[in-house]
Symmetry: C2
Subunit: 245 residues, 2 copies
Amino acid sequence: MAIVQTSPGRRALTKKSAAVEAAPEGEIYERIVGAIIEHRLPPGTQLIEEKLAAVFGVTRSRVRTVLARLAHEKLVTVHRNRGAFVAAPSVDEARDVFGARRLLEPALLEQVTERATARDIAALRAHVKKERAARAANDRQAIIRLSGEFHLLLAQIAGNALVLEMLKELSSLTCLIIILYDAPALPACPHEEHGGIVDAIEKRDLRGASELMVKHLDHVESSLRLVSEQSAEIDLQEVFAPGLR
Amino acid sequence: MAIVQTSPGRRALTKKSAAVEAAPEGEIYERIVGAIIEHRLPPGTQLIEEKLAAVFGVTRSRVRTVLARLAHEKLVTVHRNRGAFVAAPSVDEARDVFGARRLLEPALLEQVTERATARDIAALRAHVKKERAARAANDRQAIIRLSGEFHLLLAQIAGNALVLEMLKELSSLTCLIIILYDAPALPACPHEEHGGIVDAIEKRDLRGASELMVKHLDHVESSLRLVSEQSAEIDLQEVFAPGLR
DNA sequence: GTAGACTCGATTGTCGACAATATGCTAGCG
DNA sequence: CGCTAGCATATTGTCGACAATCGAGTCTAC
């Protein structure tokens, strides 16, 4: 599990401005997810039920159900009797996320290339354009968000609601992982690779699209520093008795 | 959504023998899942919190969290202010489940054929043997359960914990779907198709294994009567104003 | 100065009670 | 005789309070 505690002694939430009007459960969920994937809540931060309740103007129990849902989606991890924390996926977990995407997404393209209408393609192109704009404006948050949404758009075209949900979860997790493991300087996002995929889809070139997608995912993954630096026990082994096991 | 109410006036739970010793949350979950996939709780049955609480010797709140989890996994559907019911996937949802499996599982075999050790293969063979025995004994419940577990075994060999979880959920849902849509007489389960897949894996024949897997899933799906007979709203449209929309 | 035990504060887990809601039934009315 | 409105009941949703638990910091002994 290896929760990476944010360094300066468990930074907790700072109370937001008093927007104390009861928010419905869905909204609370959305807003927390938004805060996480835009890394206003960095991995490792504790989510204190009472404070969240106060912020959203609801009681703890409602916050609790939302946190449970987030836990199921692995966006937060809850430690029994200790609380809920924004998830900090381990290296292995991060690899699993990319692995799952490599299984789903290329295969998904089969249906996409078959079923995509002209309208769909136009929507994809429009999206790519938005991404380009965001990149030009150097709006890192928008880049990450749009980059994720592109893949969801594909799932939507494929027309399988269940897979769409799965990819939503995987996409959020990917955001978290990028935040955690990205060398913070470079954008680490696809330079126009999405555009190429759309081209292939338009040509109904399943083979090409799939290959591009795999390459794309590999590219994103390899741009991260997915080496186990922070996995406590193993490191100790390696540090003090290198080579001998 | 189209909940198929079990015909004779919403059959509710009949209280079990008084095993009133507090069960931990995990156990409650397991037992309910077990009851669902072995169709001791048929699709559509209402799960009344208080009665479950009594059965398991816990308070309603604990049952509540378990039901929430089951809802997230789509094994039960909750209607606000009305309660939780064992899920009864619509035809579309059923198709989506098979669609998702067709995406995941053939692709999964790439890693399986690469990584399967002799030990793994032996385990698979042993499992197939168990399935054969269950089929010989005509133990329908065991057949369904083992049939699902075979696929989980594959996911385990592939070594991606996330994908394993996804398949677990898909597998449970598949059980539900089989119960719902199977022509109740015939077993509708793979006649030895699993064995063939293992053969292909042993030969490291990715291509063959994938094809067999797709064929296998198609076979299971097509053995079901996945025609929309019971989808309320659309049927009404179609029945009373055919052609005109 | 360090290790270990202890206390205290903060936070979560659980429970019971009450309010809100939907459903089925009954009675009254057209 | 059918239909609507209202009532009664069963079940869920929500809240507040209390108990359990954990971590941090402190204090003491060596």
